[in-house]
């Protein structure tokens, strides 16, 4: 086995920032807004780096799709311990409409090109909340998938994955090469410390375009309109239980 792991990292608006819808309702304001690595992608990177530290795999390659700023996210992954990066340059309209289908095509193509043993992704991105990229990538490659992983153990040619599912925890064993998606409790990501950021500047980030991989980024979706959620109306306080019952009857709830 090649011992190479691909990790996808996405640059998203920081989770603590208040989102604002653009005045023309075409999307959200991203210009100048604080961005950071998707929290689930951080967990994915941490897992890959841990595997390398345990000498179970040989190389961690961080991949990000987007405009020039995506390189910052790759640098953070490199500072956490990834060996090299691949920046797939997607800009303009293609970037606005970049979704799980396009990214999974890219990941599948790169996995074949780099002869990857594992692909580790975050379970979902905090902006799209799609939870589709990992699954689509596995399908395109016809690889097994271990999604919502809260525990991963690489054992020779197989991976034991404990998955967080609605009913509890499910343990499965799948063959490599495989796709894994990281859930919250998989690990606690390490900090990207300054000496590592400085060292990361020397690590390589290769730049490719989707066309170089023979891929078409056209989306089958069109965003018609983005709106803020409706304003939450103020509540009403009542004095007695009878008042409450009367109010509930009034609004037709009882």
């Amino acid at each position: 086995m090649s011992g190479r792991v691909l990790v996808g990292v996405k640059r998203v608006i920081d989770y603590a920032v208040k989102i604002r819808v653009k005045p023309d309702n075409s999307g959200v304001v991203t210009d100048g807004v604080k961005h950071s690595m998707n929290p689930f992608c951080e967990i994915a990177v941490e897992e890959a780096v841990k595997m390398k530290e345990k000498k179970l795999i040989k190389e961690v390659v961080a991949v990000s799709c987007g405009p020039q700023q995506a390189q910052e996210t790759i640098r953070t992954a490199l500072a956490m311990g990834a060996d090299r990066g691949i920046h797939v340059e997607v800009t303009g309209k293609d970037y606005d409409m970049l979704g799980p289908l396009q990214v999974s095509k890219i990941m599948a193509a790169l996995a074949k090109k780099e002869d990857a043993q594992l692909i580790i992704l975050g379970k979902q991105a905090i902006d799209g909340d799609c939870n589709q990229t990992g699954q689509m990538t596995a399908a395109l490659l016809d690889w097994p998938q271990g999604t919502f992983a809260s525990e991963v153990s690489l054992e020779g040619d197989t991976v034991k994955v404990v998955r967080e599912i609605d009913g509890g925890l499910e343990t499965i064993k799948i063959n490599t090469p495989a796709v894994l998606t990281a859930d919250l409790r998989l690990n606690t990501p390490r900090y990207a410390t300054l000496p590592n950021i400085m060292k990361a500047k020397k690590k390589k980030i290769a730049k490719v375009k989707p066309a170089d991989l023979g891929l078409d980024m056209t989306s089958r979706l069109e965003v018609l309109r983005v709106d803020e959620p409706p304003q939450r109306l103020a509540g009403v306080k009542v004095e007695t239980v009878d008042d409450l019952v009367a109010k509930l009857k009034e609004t037709g709830r009882l």
Binding site: D14, A16, P23, G32, K34, S36, T188, T193, L194, M198
Partner: protein, 621 residues
């Protein structure tokens, strides 16, 4: 050599001593003091930060690797604001001109350059014209030249217009309304292009010293310490950046600058700095009300004539109909019941202001302290191994309410003074860290000093029976007519923290409830600042004594920190046991304004830097 502490400031000095000695154990005096203070009253433990509770004797830290990775640069700059970035750019310009190699590293606590920047702002382009003459071609975001200047004295319902005669300091002809955060971000890009190493997301937490007492550089913050002060699995030591010269540009009331004042006795010949707090919002307004290029200022209502302060409202011209508006309150106010945040919110209801905002929506909020001391409060600027630039020593022109152009110029002059020394063949200095007193000399001969000297008496002139009106009269006579050439220099009143009167001598102020359309509550405003910190870390608002807040601040002054903090960090909540109150510190809300460190009447709060990357996420403020 370190200074013998005065009783009141013993804790601060001992921390500075500890820094000077490096990793040696804290002197026994410190631990005894701390234990005595804690055991006298059963106060729940609030502060867990290692600057107050040393890790040397802490059993939880036994065996933890405390070695730090160190790297060398020629110049290290603390703070990525206008001053720091101008200094960095000027250094690299000189290096390219003279074909010399120069490694310039800049550390900034915000996650990205510009994210902690907040200002009005009407930028005077004088310093920028000198630094980057082709700024327009390079796309500097100076998009809104000032076209209209409006000055008013407000009463509760009406407005008295005041003509801005040419020559008065608040005239803005030739200036630009900017979103300073965007301007700083652009400066950052210029710096990177020139080869400056920018490291946003890494805070300078400690000053490092050579054996001879000169500054060796800084160390960035440790990460991975839990809320109770113990190390987590992900604990990592910060990194040391050594430099021939370290420039400190932390902005108003920097925490490292505070240590340096004590360490090198930099404030012995100047007055204490006085401050104000500035709160700001950005609104998207109705297009019909939008007048791009209009700069409005007001004084008067809702503040009384004895409380210094006023408002600004600038119409930006960047595509969307946006206005930047805000309120400034001098921190020498005497009534502990005053809440600068609520004064700001109620000012927006004045008919003159509400007319502009009606139908609009608020898109940003933030707050920051600013300097008001002027030339009387500028400390000694240089010391072996380092120097101070920008709003940290404080070059703000108070009546103009502009400090960006002087901050930039101070950074440029610092770079010019330091460059020949740093690139010299041999070490041109008596101490291991370079001393560059030429910086202070050239600053005193520059237009910065002329400007600050001319306006030095305007702010102190407000300390008279007529308050605001006396000050305006003074300005009219002595500045407008005599251009500040009067031979005397008025003094300030002393520390802002000492100005509060006990609560029983003052009347609580009845503030109107926020209406959710023009005025808002504190917590939704804080949410809009995008501020956040890693939750599991020691509170960076450290208390020298955990019992002082309830025993003194609450007992005498009714807990003014619950009112002056623009982010709701401080709350007095009832004890779980029933009787009595305790101070709750919501450190995650902090927007790094520094007001608490300035205004705490007991001077018990010491703001230190949290893990880098935390704090507000301002976008173009």
């Amino acid at each position: 050599m370190p200074i013998v502490p005065r009783a009141r400031t013993s804790h601060r000095c001992i921390r500075a001593l500890k820094t000077a000695q490096g990793e040696h154990a804290a002197p026994p005096l410190y631990t005894t003091l701390n234990r005595r203070a804690c055991s006298s009253v059963s106060t729940p433990r609030i502060t867990t930060h290692y600057t107050i509770h040393s890790r040397d004797k802490d059993p939880r830290w036994e065996g933890i690797e405390m070695e730090r990775f160190a790297d060398e640069a020629d110049v290290v700059i603390v703070g990525g604001g206008p001053a720091g970035l101008s200094a960095a750019i000027r250094l690299k310009q000189l290096a390219n001109e003279h074909e010399k190699e120069l490694r310039v590293c800049l550390v900034e606590k915000a996650s990205q350059i510009g994210a902690h920047t907040l200002s009005g702002a009407c930028l005077e382009p004088t310093a920028l014209d000198e630094l980057i003459p082709d700024w327009k071609e390079r796309g500097a975001p100076l998009n809104t030249p000032v076209t209209e200047d409006v000055f008013s004295i407000l009463t509760e319902k009406y407005r008295i217009p005041v003509p801005i005669l040419p020559g008065l300091p608040m005239g803005n002809h030739g200036n630009y309304i900017v979103r300073l955060g965007n301007f700083v971000r652009w400066l950052g890009e210029q710096a990177e292009e020139l080869g400056v190493e920018l490291y946003p997301g890494y805070a300078a937490a400690e000053v490092l010293f050579h054996e001879d007492g000169s500054v060796k550089g800084i160390a960035t913050n440790d990460v991975g310490i839990a809320k109770d002060g113990s190390p987590k699995d992900v604990f990592e030591r910060g990194m040391e950046l050594h430099a021939k010269v370290t420039m400190f540009g932390e902005g108003c009331h920097g925490h490292l600058a505070k240590q340096l004042y004590k360490q090198f006795n930099l404030r012995e010949n100047c007055e204490p700095q006085t401050y104000a707090i500035g709160l700001k919002e950005v609104w998207a307004i109705d297009e019909k009300k939008w007048r791009p290029g209009r700069a409005e200022h007001s004084v008067g209502w809702p503040l009384n004539r004895l409380t210094y302060g006023g408002s600004f409202l600038y119409h930006l011209n960047e595509g969307e109909p946006l206005v930047a508006l805000g309120f400034v309150v001098g921190l020498d106010y005497t009534n502990p019941y005053l809440s600068p945040f609520r004064e700001f919110q109620r000012w927006k209801h004045h008919p003159f202001v509400a007319a502009t905002l009606e139908g609009g929506s608020r898109i940003a909020y933030g707050a920051r302290a600013l300097n008001e001391g002027g030339s009387q409060s500028i400390p000694k600027l240089t010391f072996p191994g380092g120097l101070l630039i920008g709003c940290s020593p404080g070059f703000m022109n108070v009546p103009k309410i502009k400090g960006t152009h002087t901050a930039m110029k101070s950074g440029m002059l610092a770079a010019e003074a330091v460059f020949p020394k740093v690139t010299a063949e041999g070490l041109d200095s008596e101490t291991a860290g370079l001393h560059a007193p030429e910086y202070a000399e050239t600053l005193k001969k520059s237009w910065v000093w002329k400007e600050l000297h001319a306006v030095r008496n305007i702010r102190p002139s407000f300390h008279n029976y007529f308050g605001l009106y006396g000050g305006m009269a003074y300005t009219g006579v002595f500045y407008w007519i005599f251009r500040g050439k009067e031979p005397w220099t008025l003094k300030h009143c002393g520390l802002d923290a000492d100005q509060l009167k006990p609560a029983k001598e003052c009347t609580p102020i009845e503030y109107p409830k926020p209406d959710g359309k023009l005025s808002f509550d504190l917590l939704s405003s804080v949410a809009l600042s995008g501020t956040n910190h890693e939750g599991d870390q020691p509170a960076h608002l450290t208390l020298k004594s955990d019992s002082v807040p309830v025993q003194r601040n609450l007992a005498i002054y009714d807990g003014p920190e619950q009112r002056f903090c623009p982010a709701g960090v401080y709350e007095y909540v009832p004890l779980e046991t029933g009787d009595g109150m305790r101070l709750q510190i919501n450190a995650q809300n902090c927007v790094h304004c520094k007001t608490c460190d300035i205004k705490d009447p007991s001077q018990n709060i010491n703001w230190v830097v949290p893990e880098g990357g935390g704090g507000p996420a301002y976008n173009g403020l």
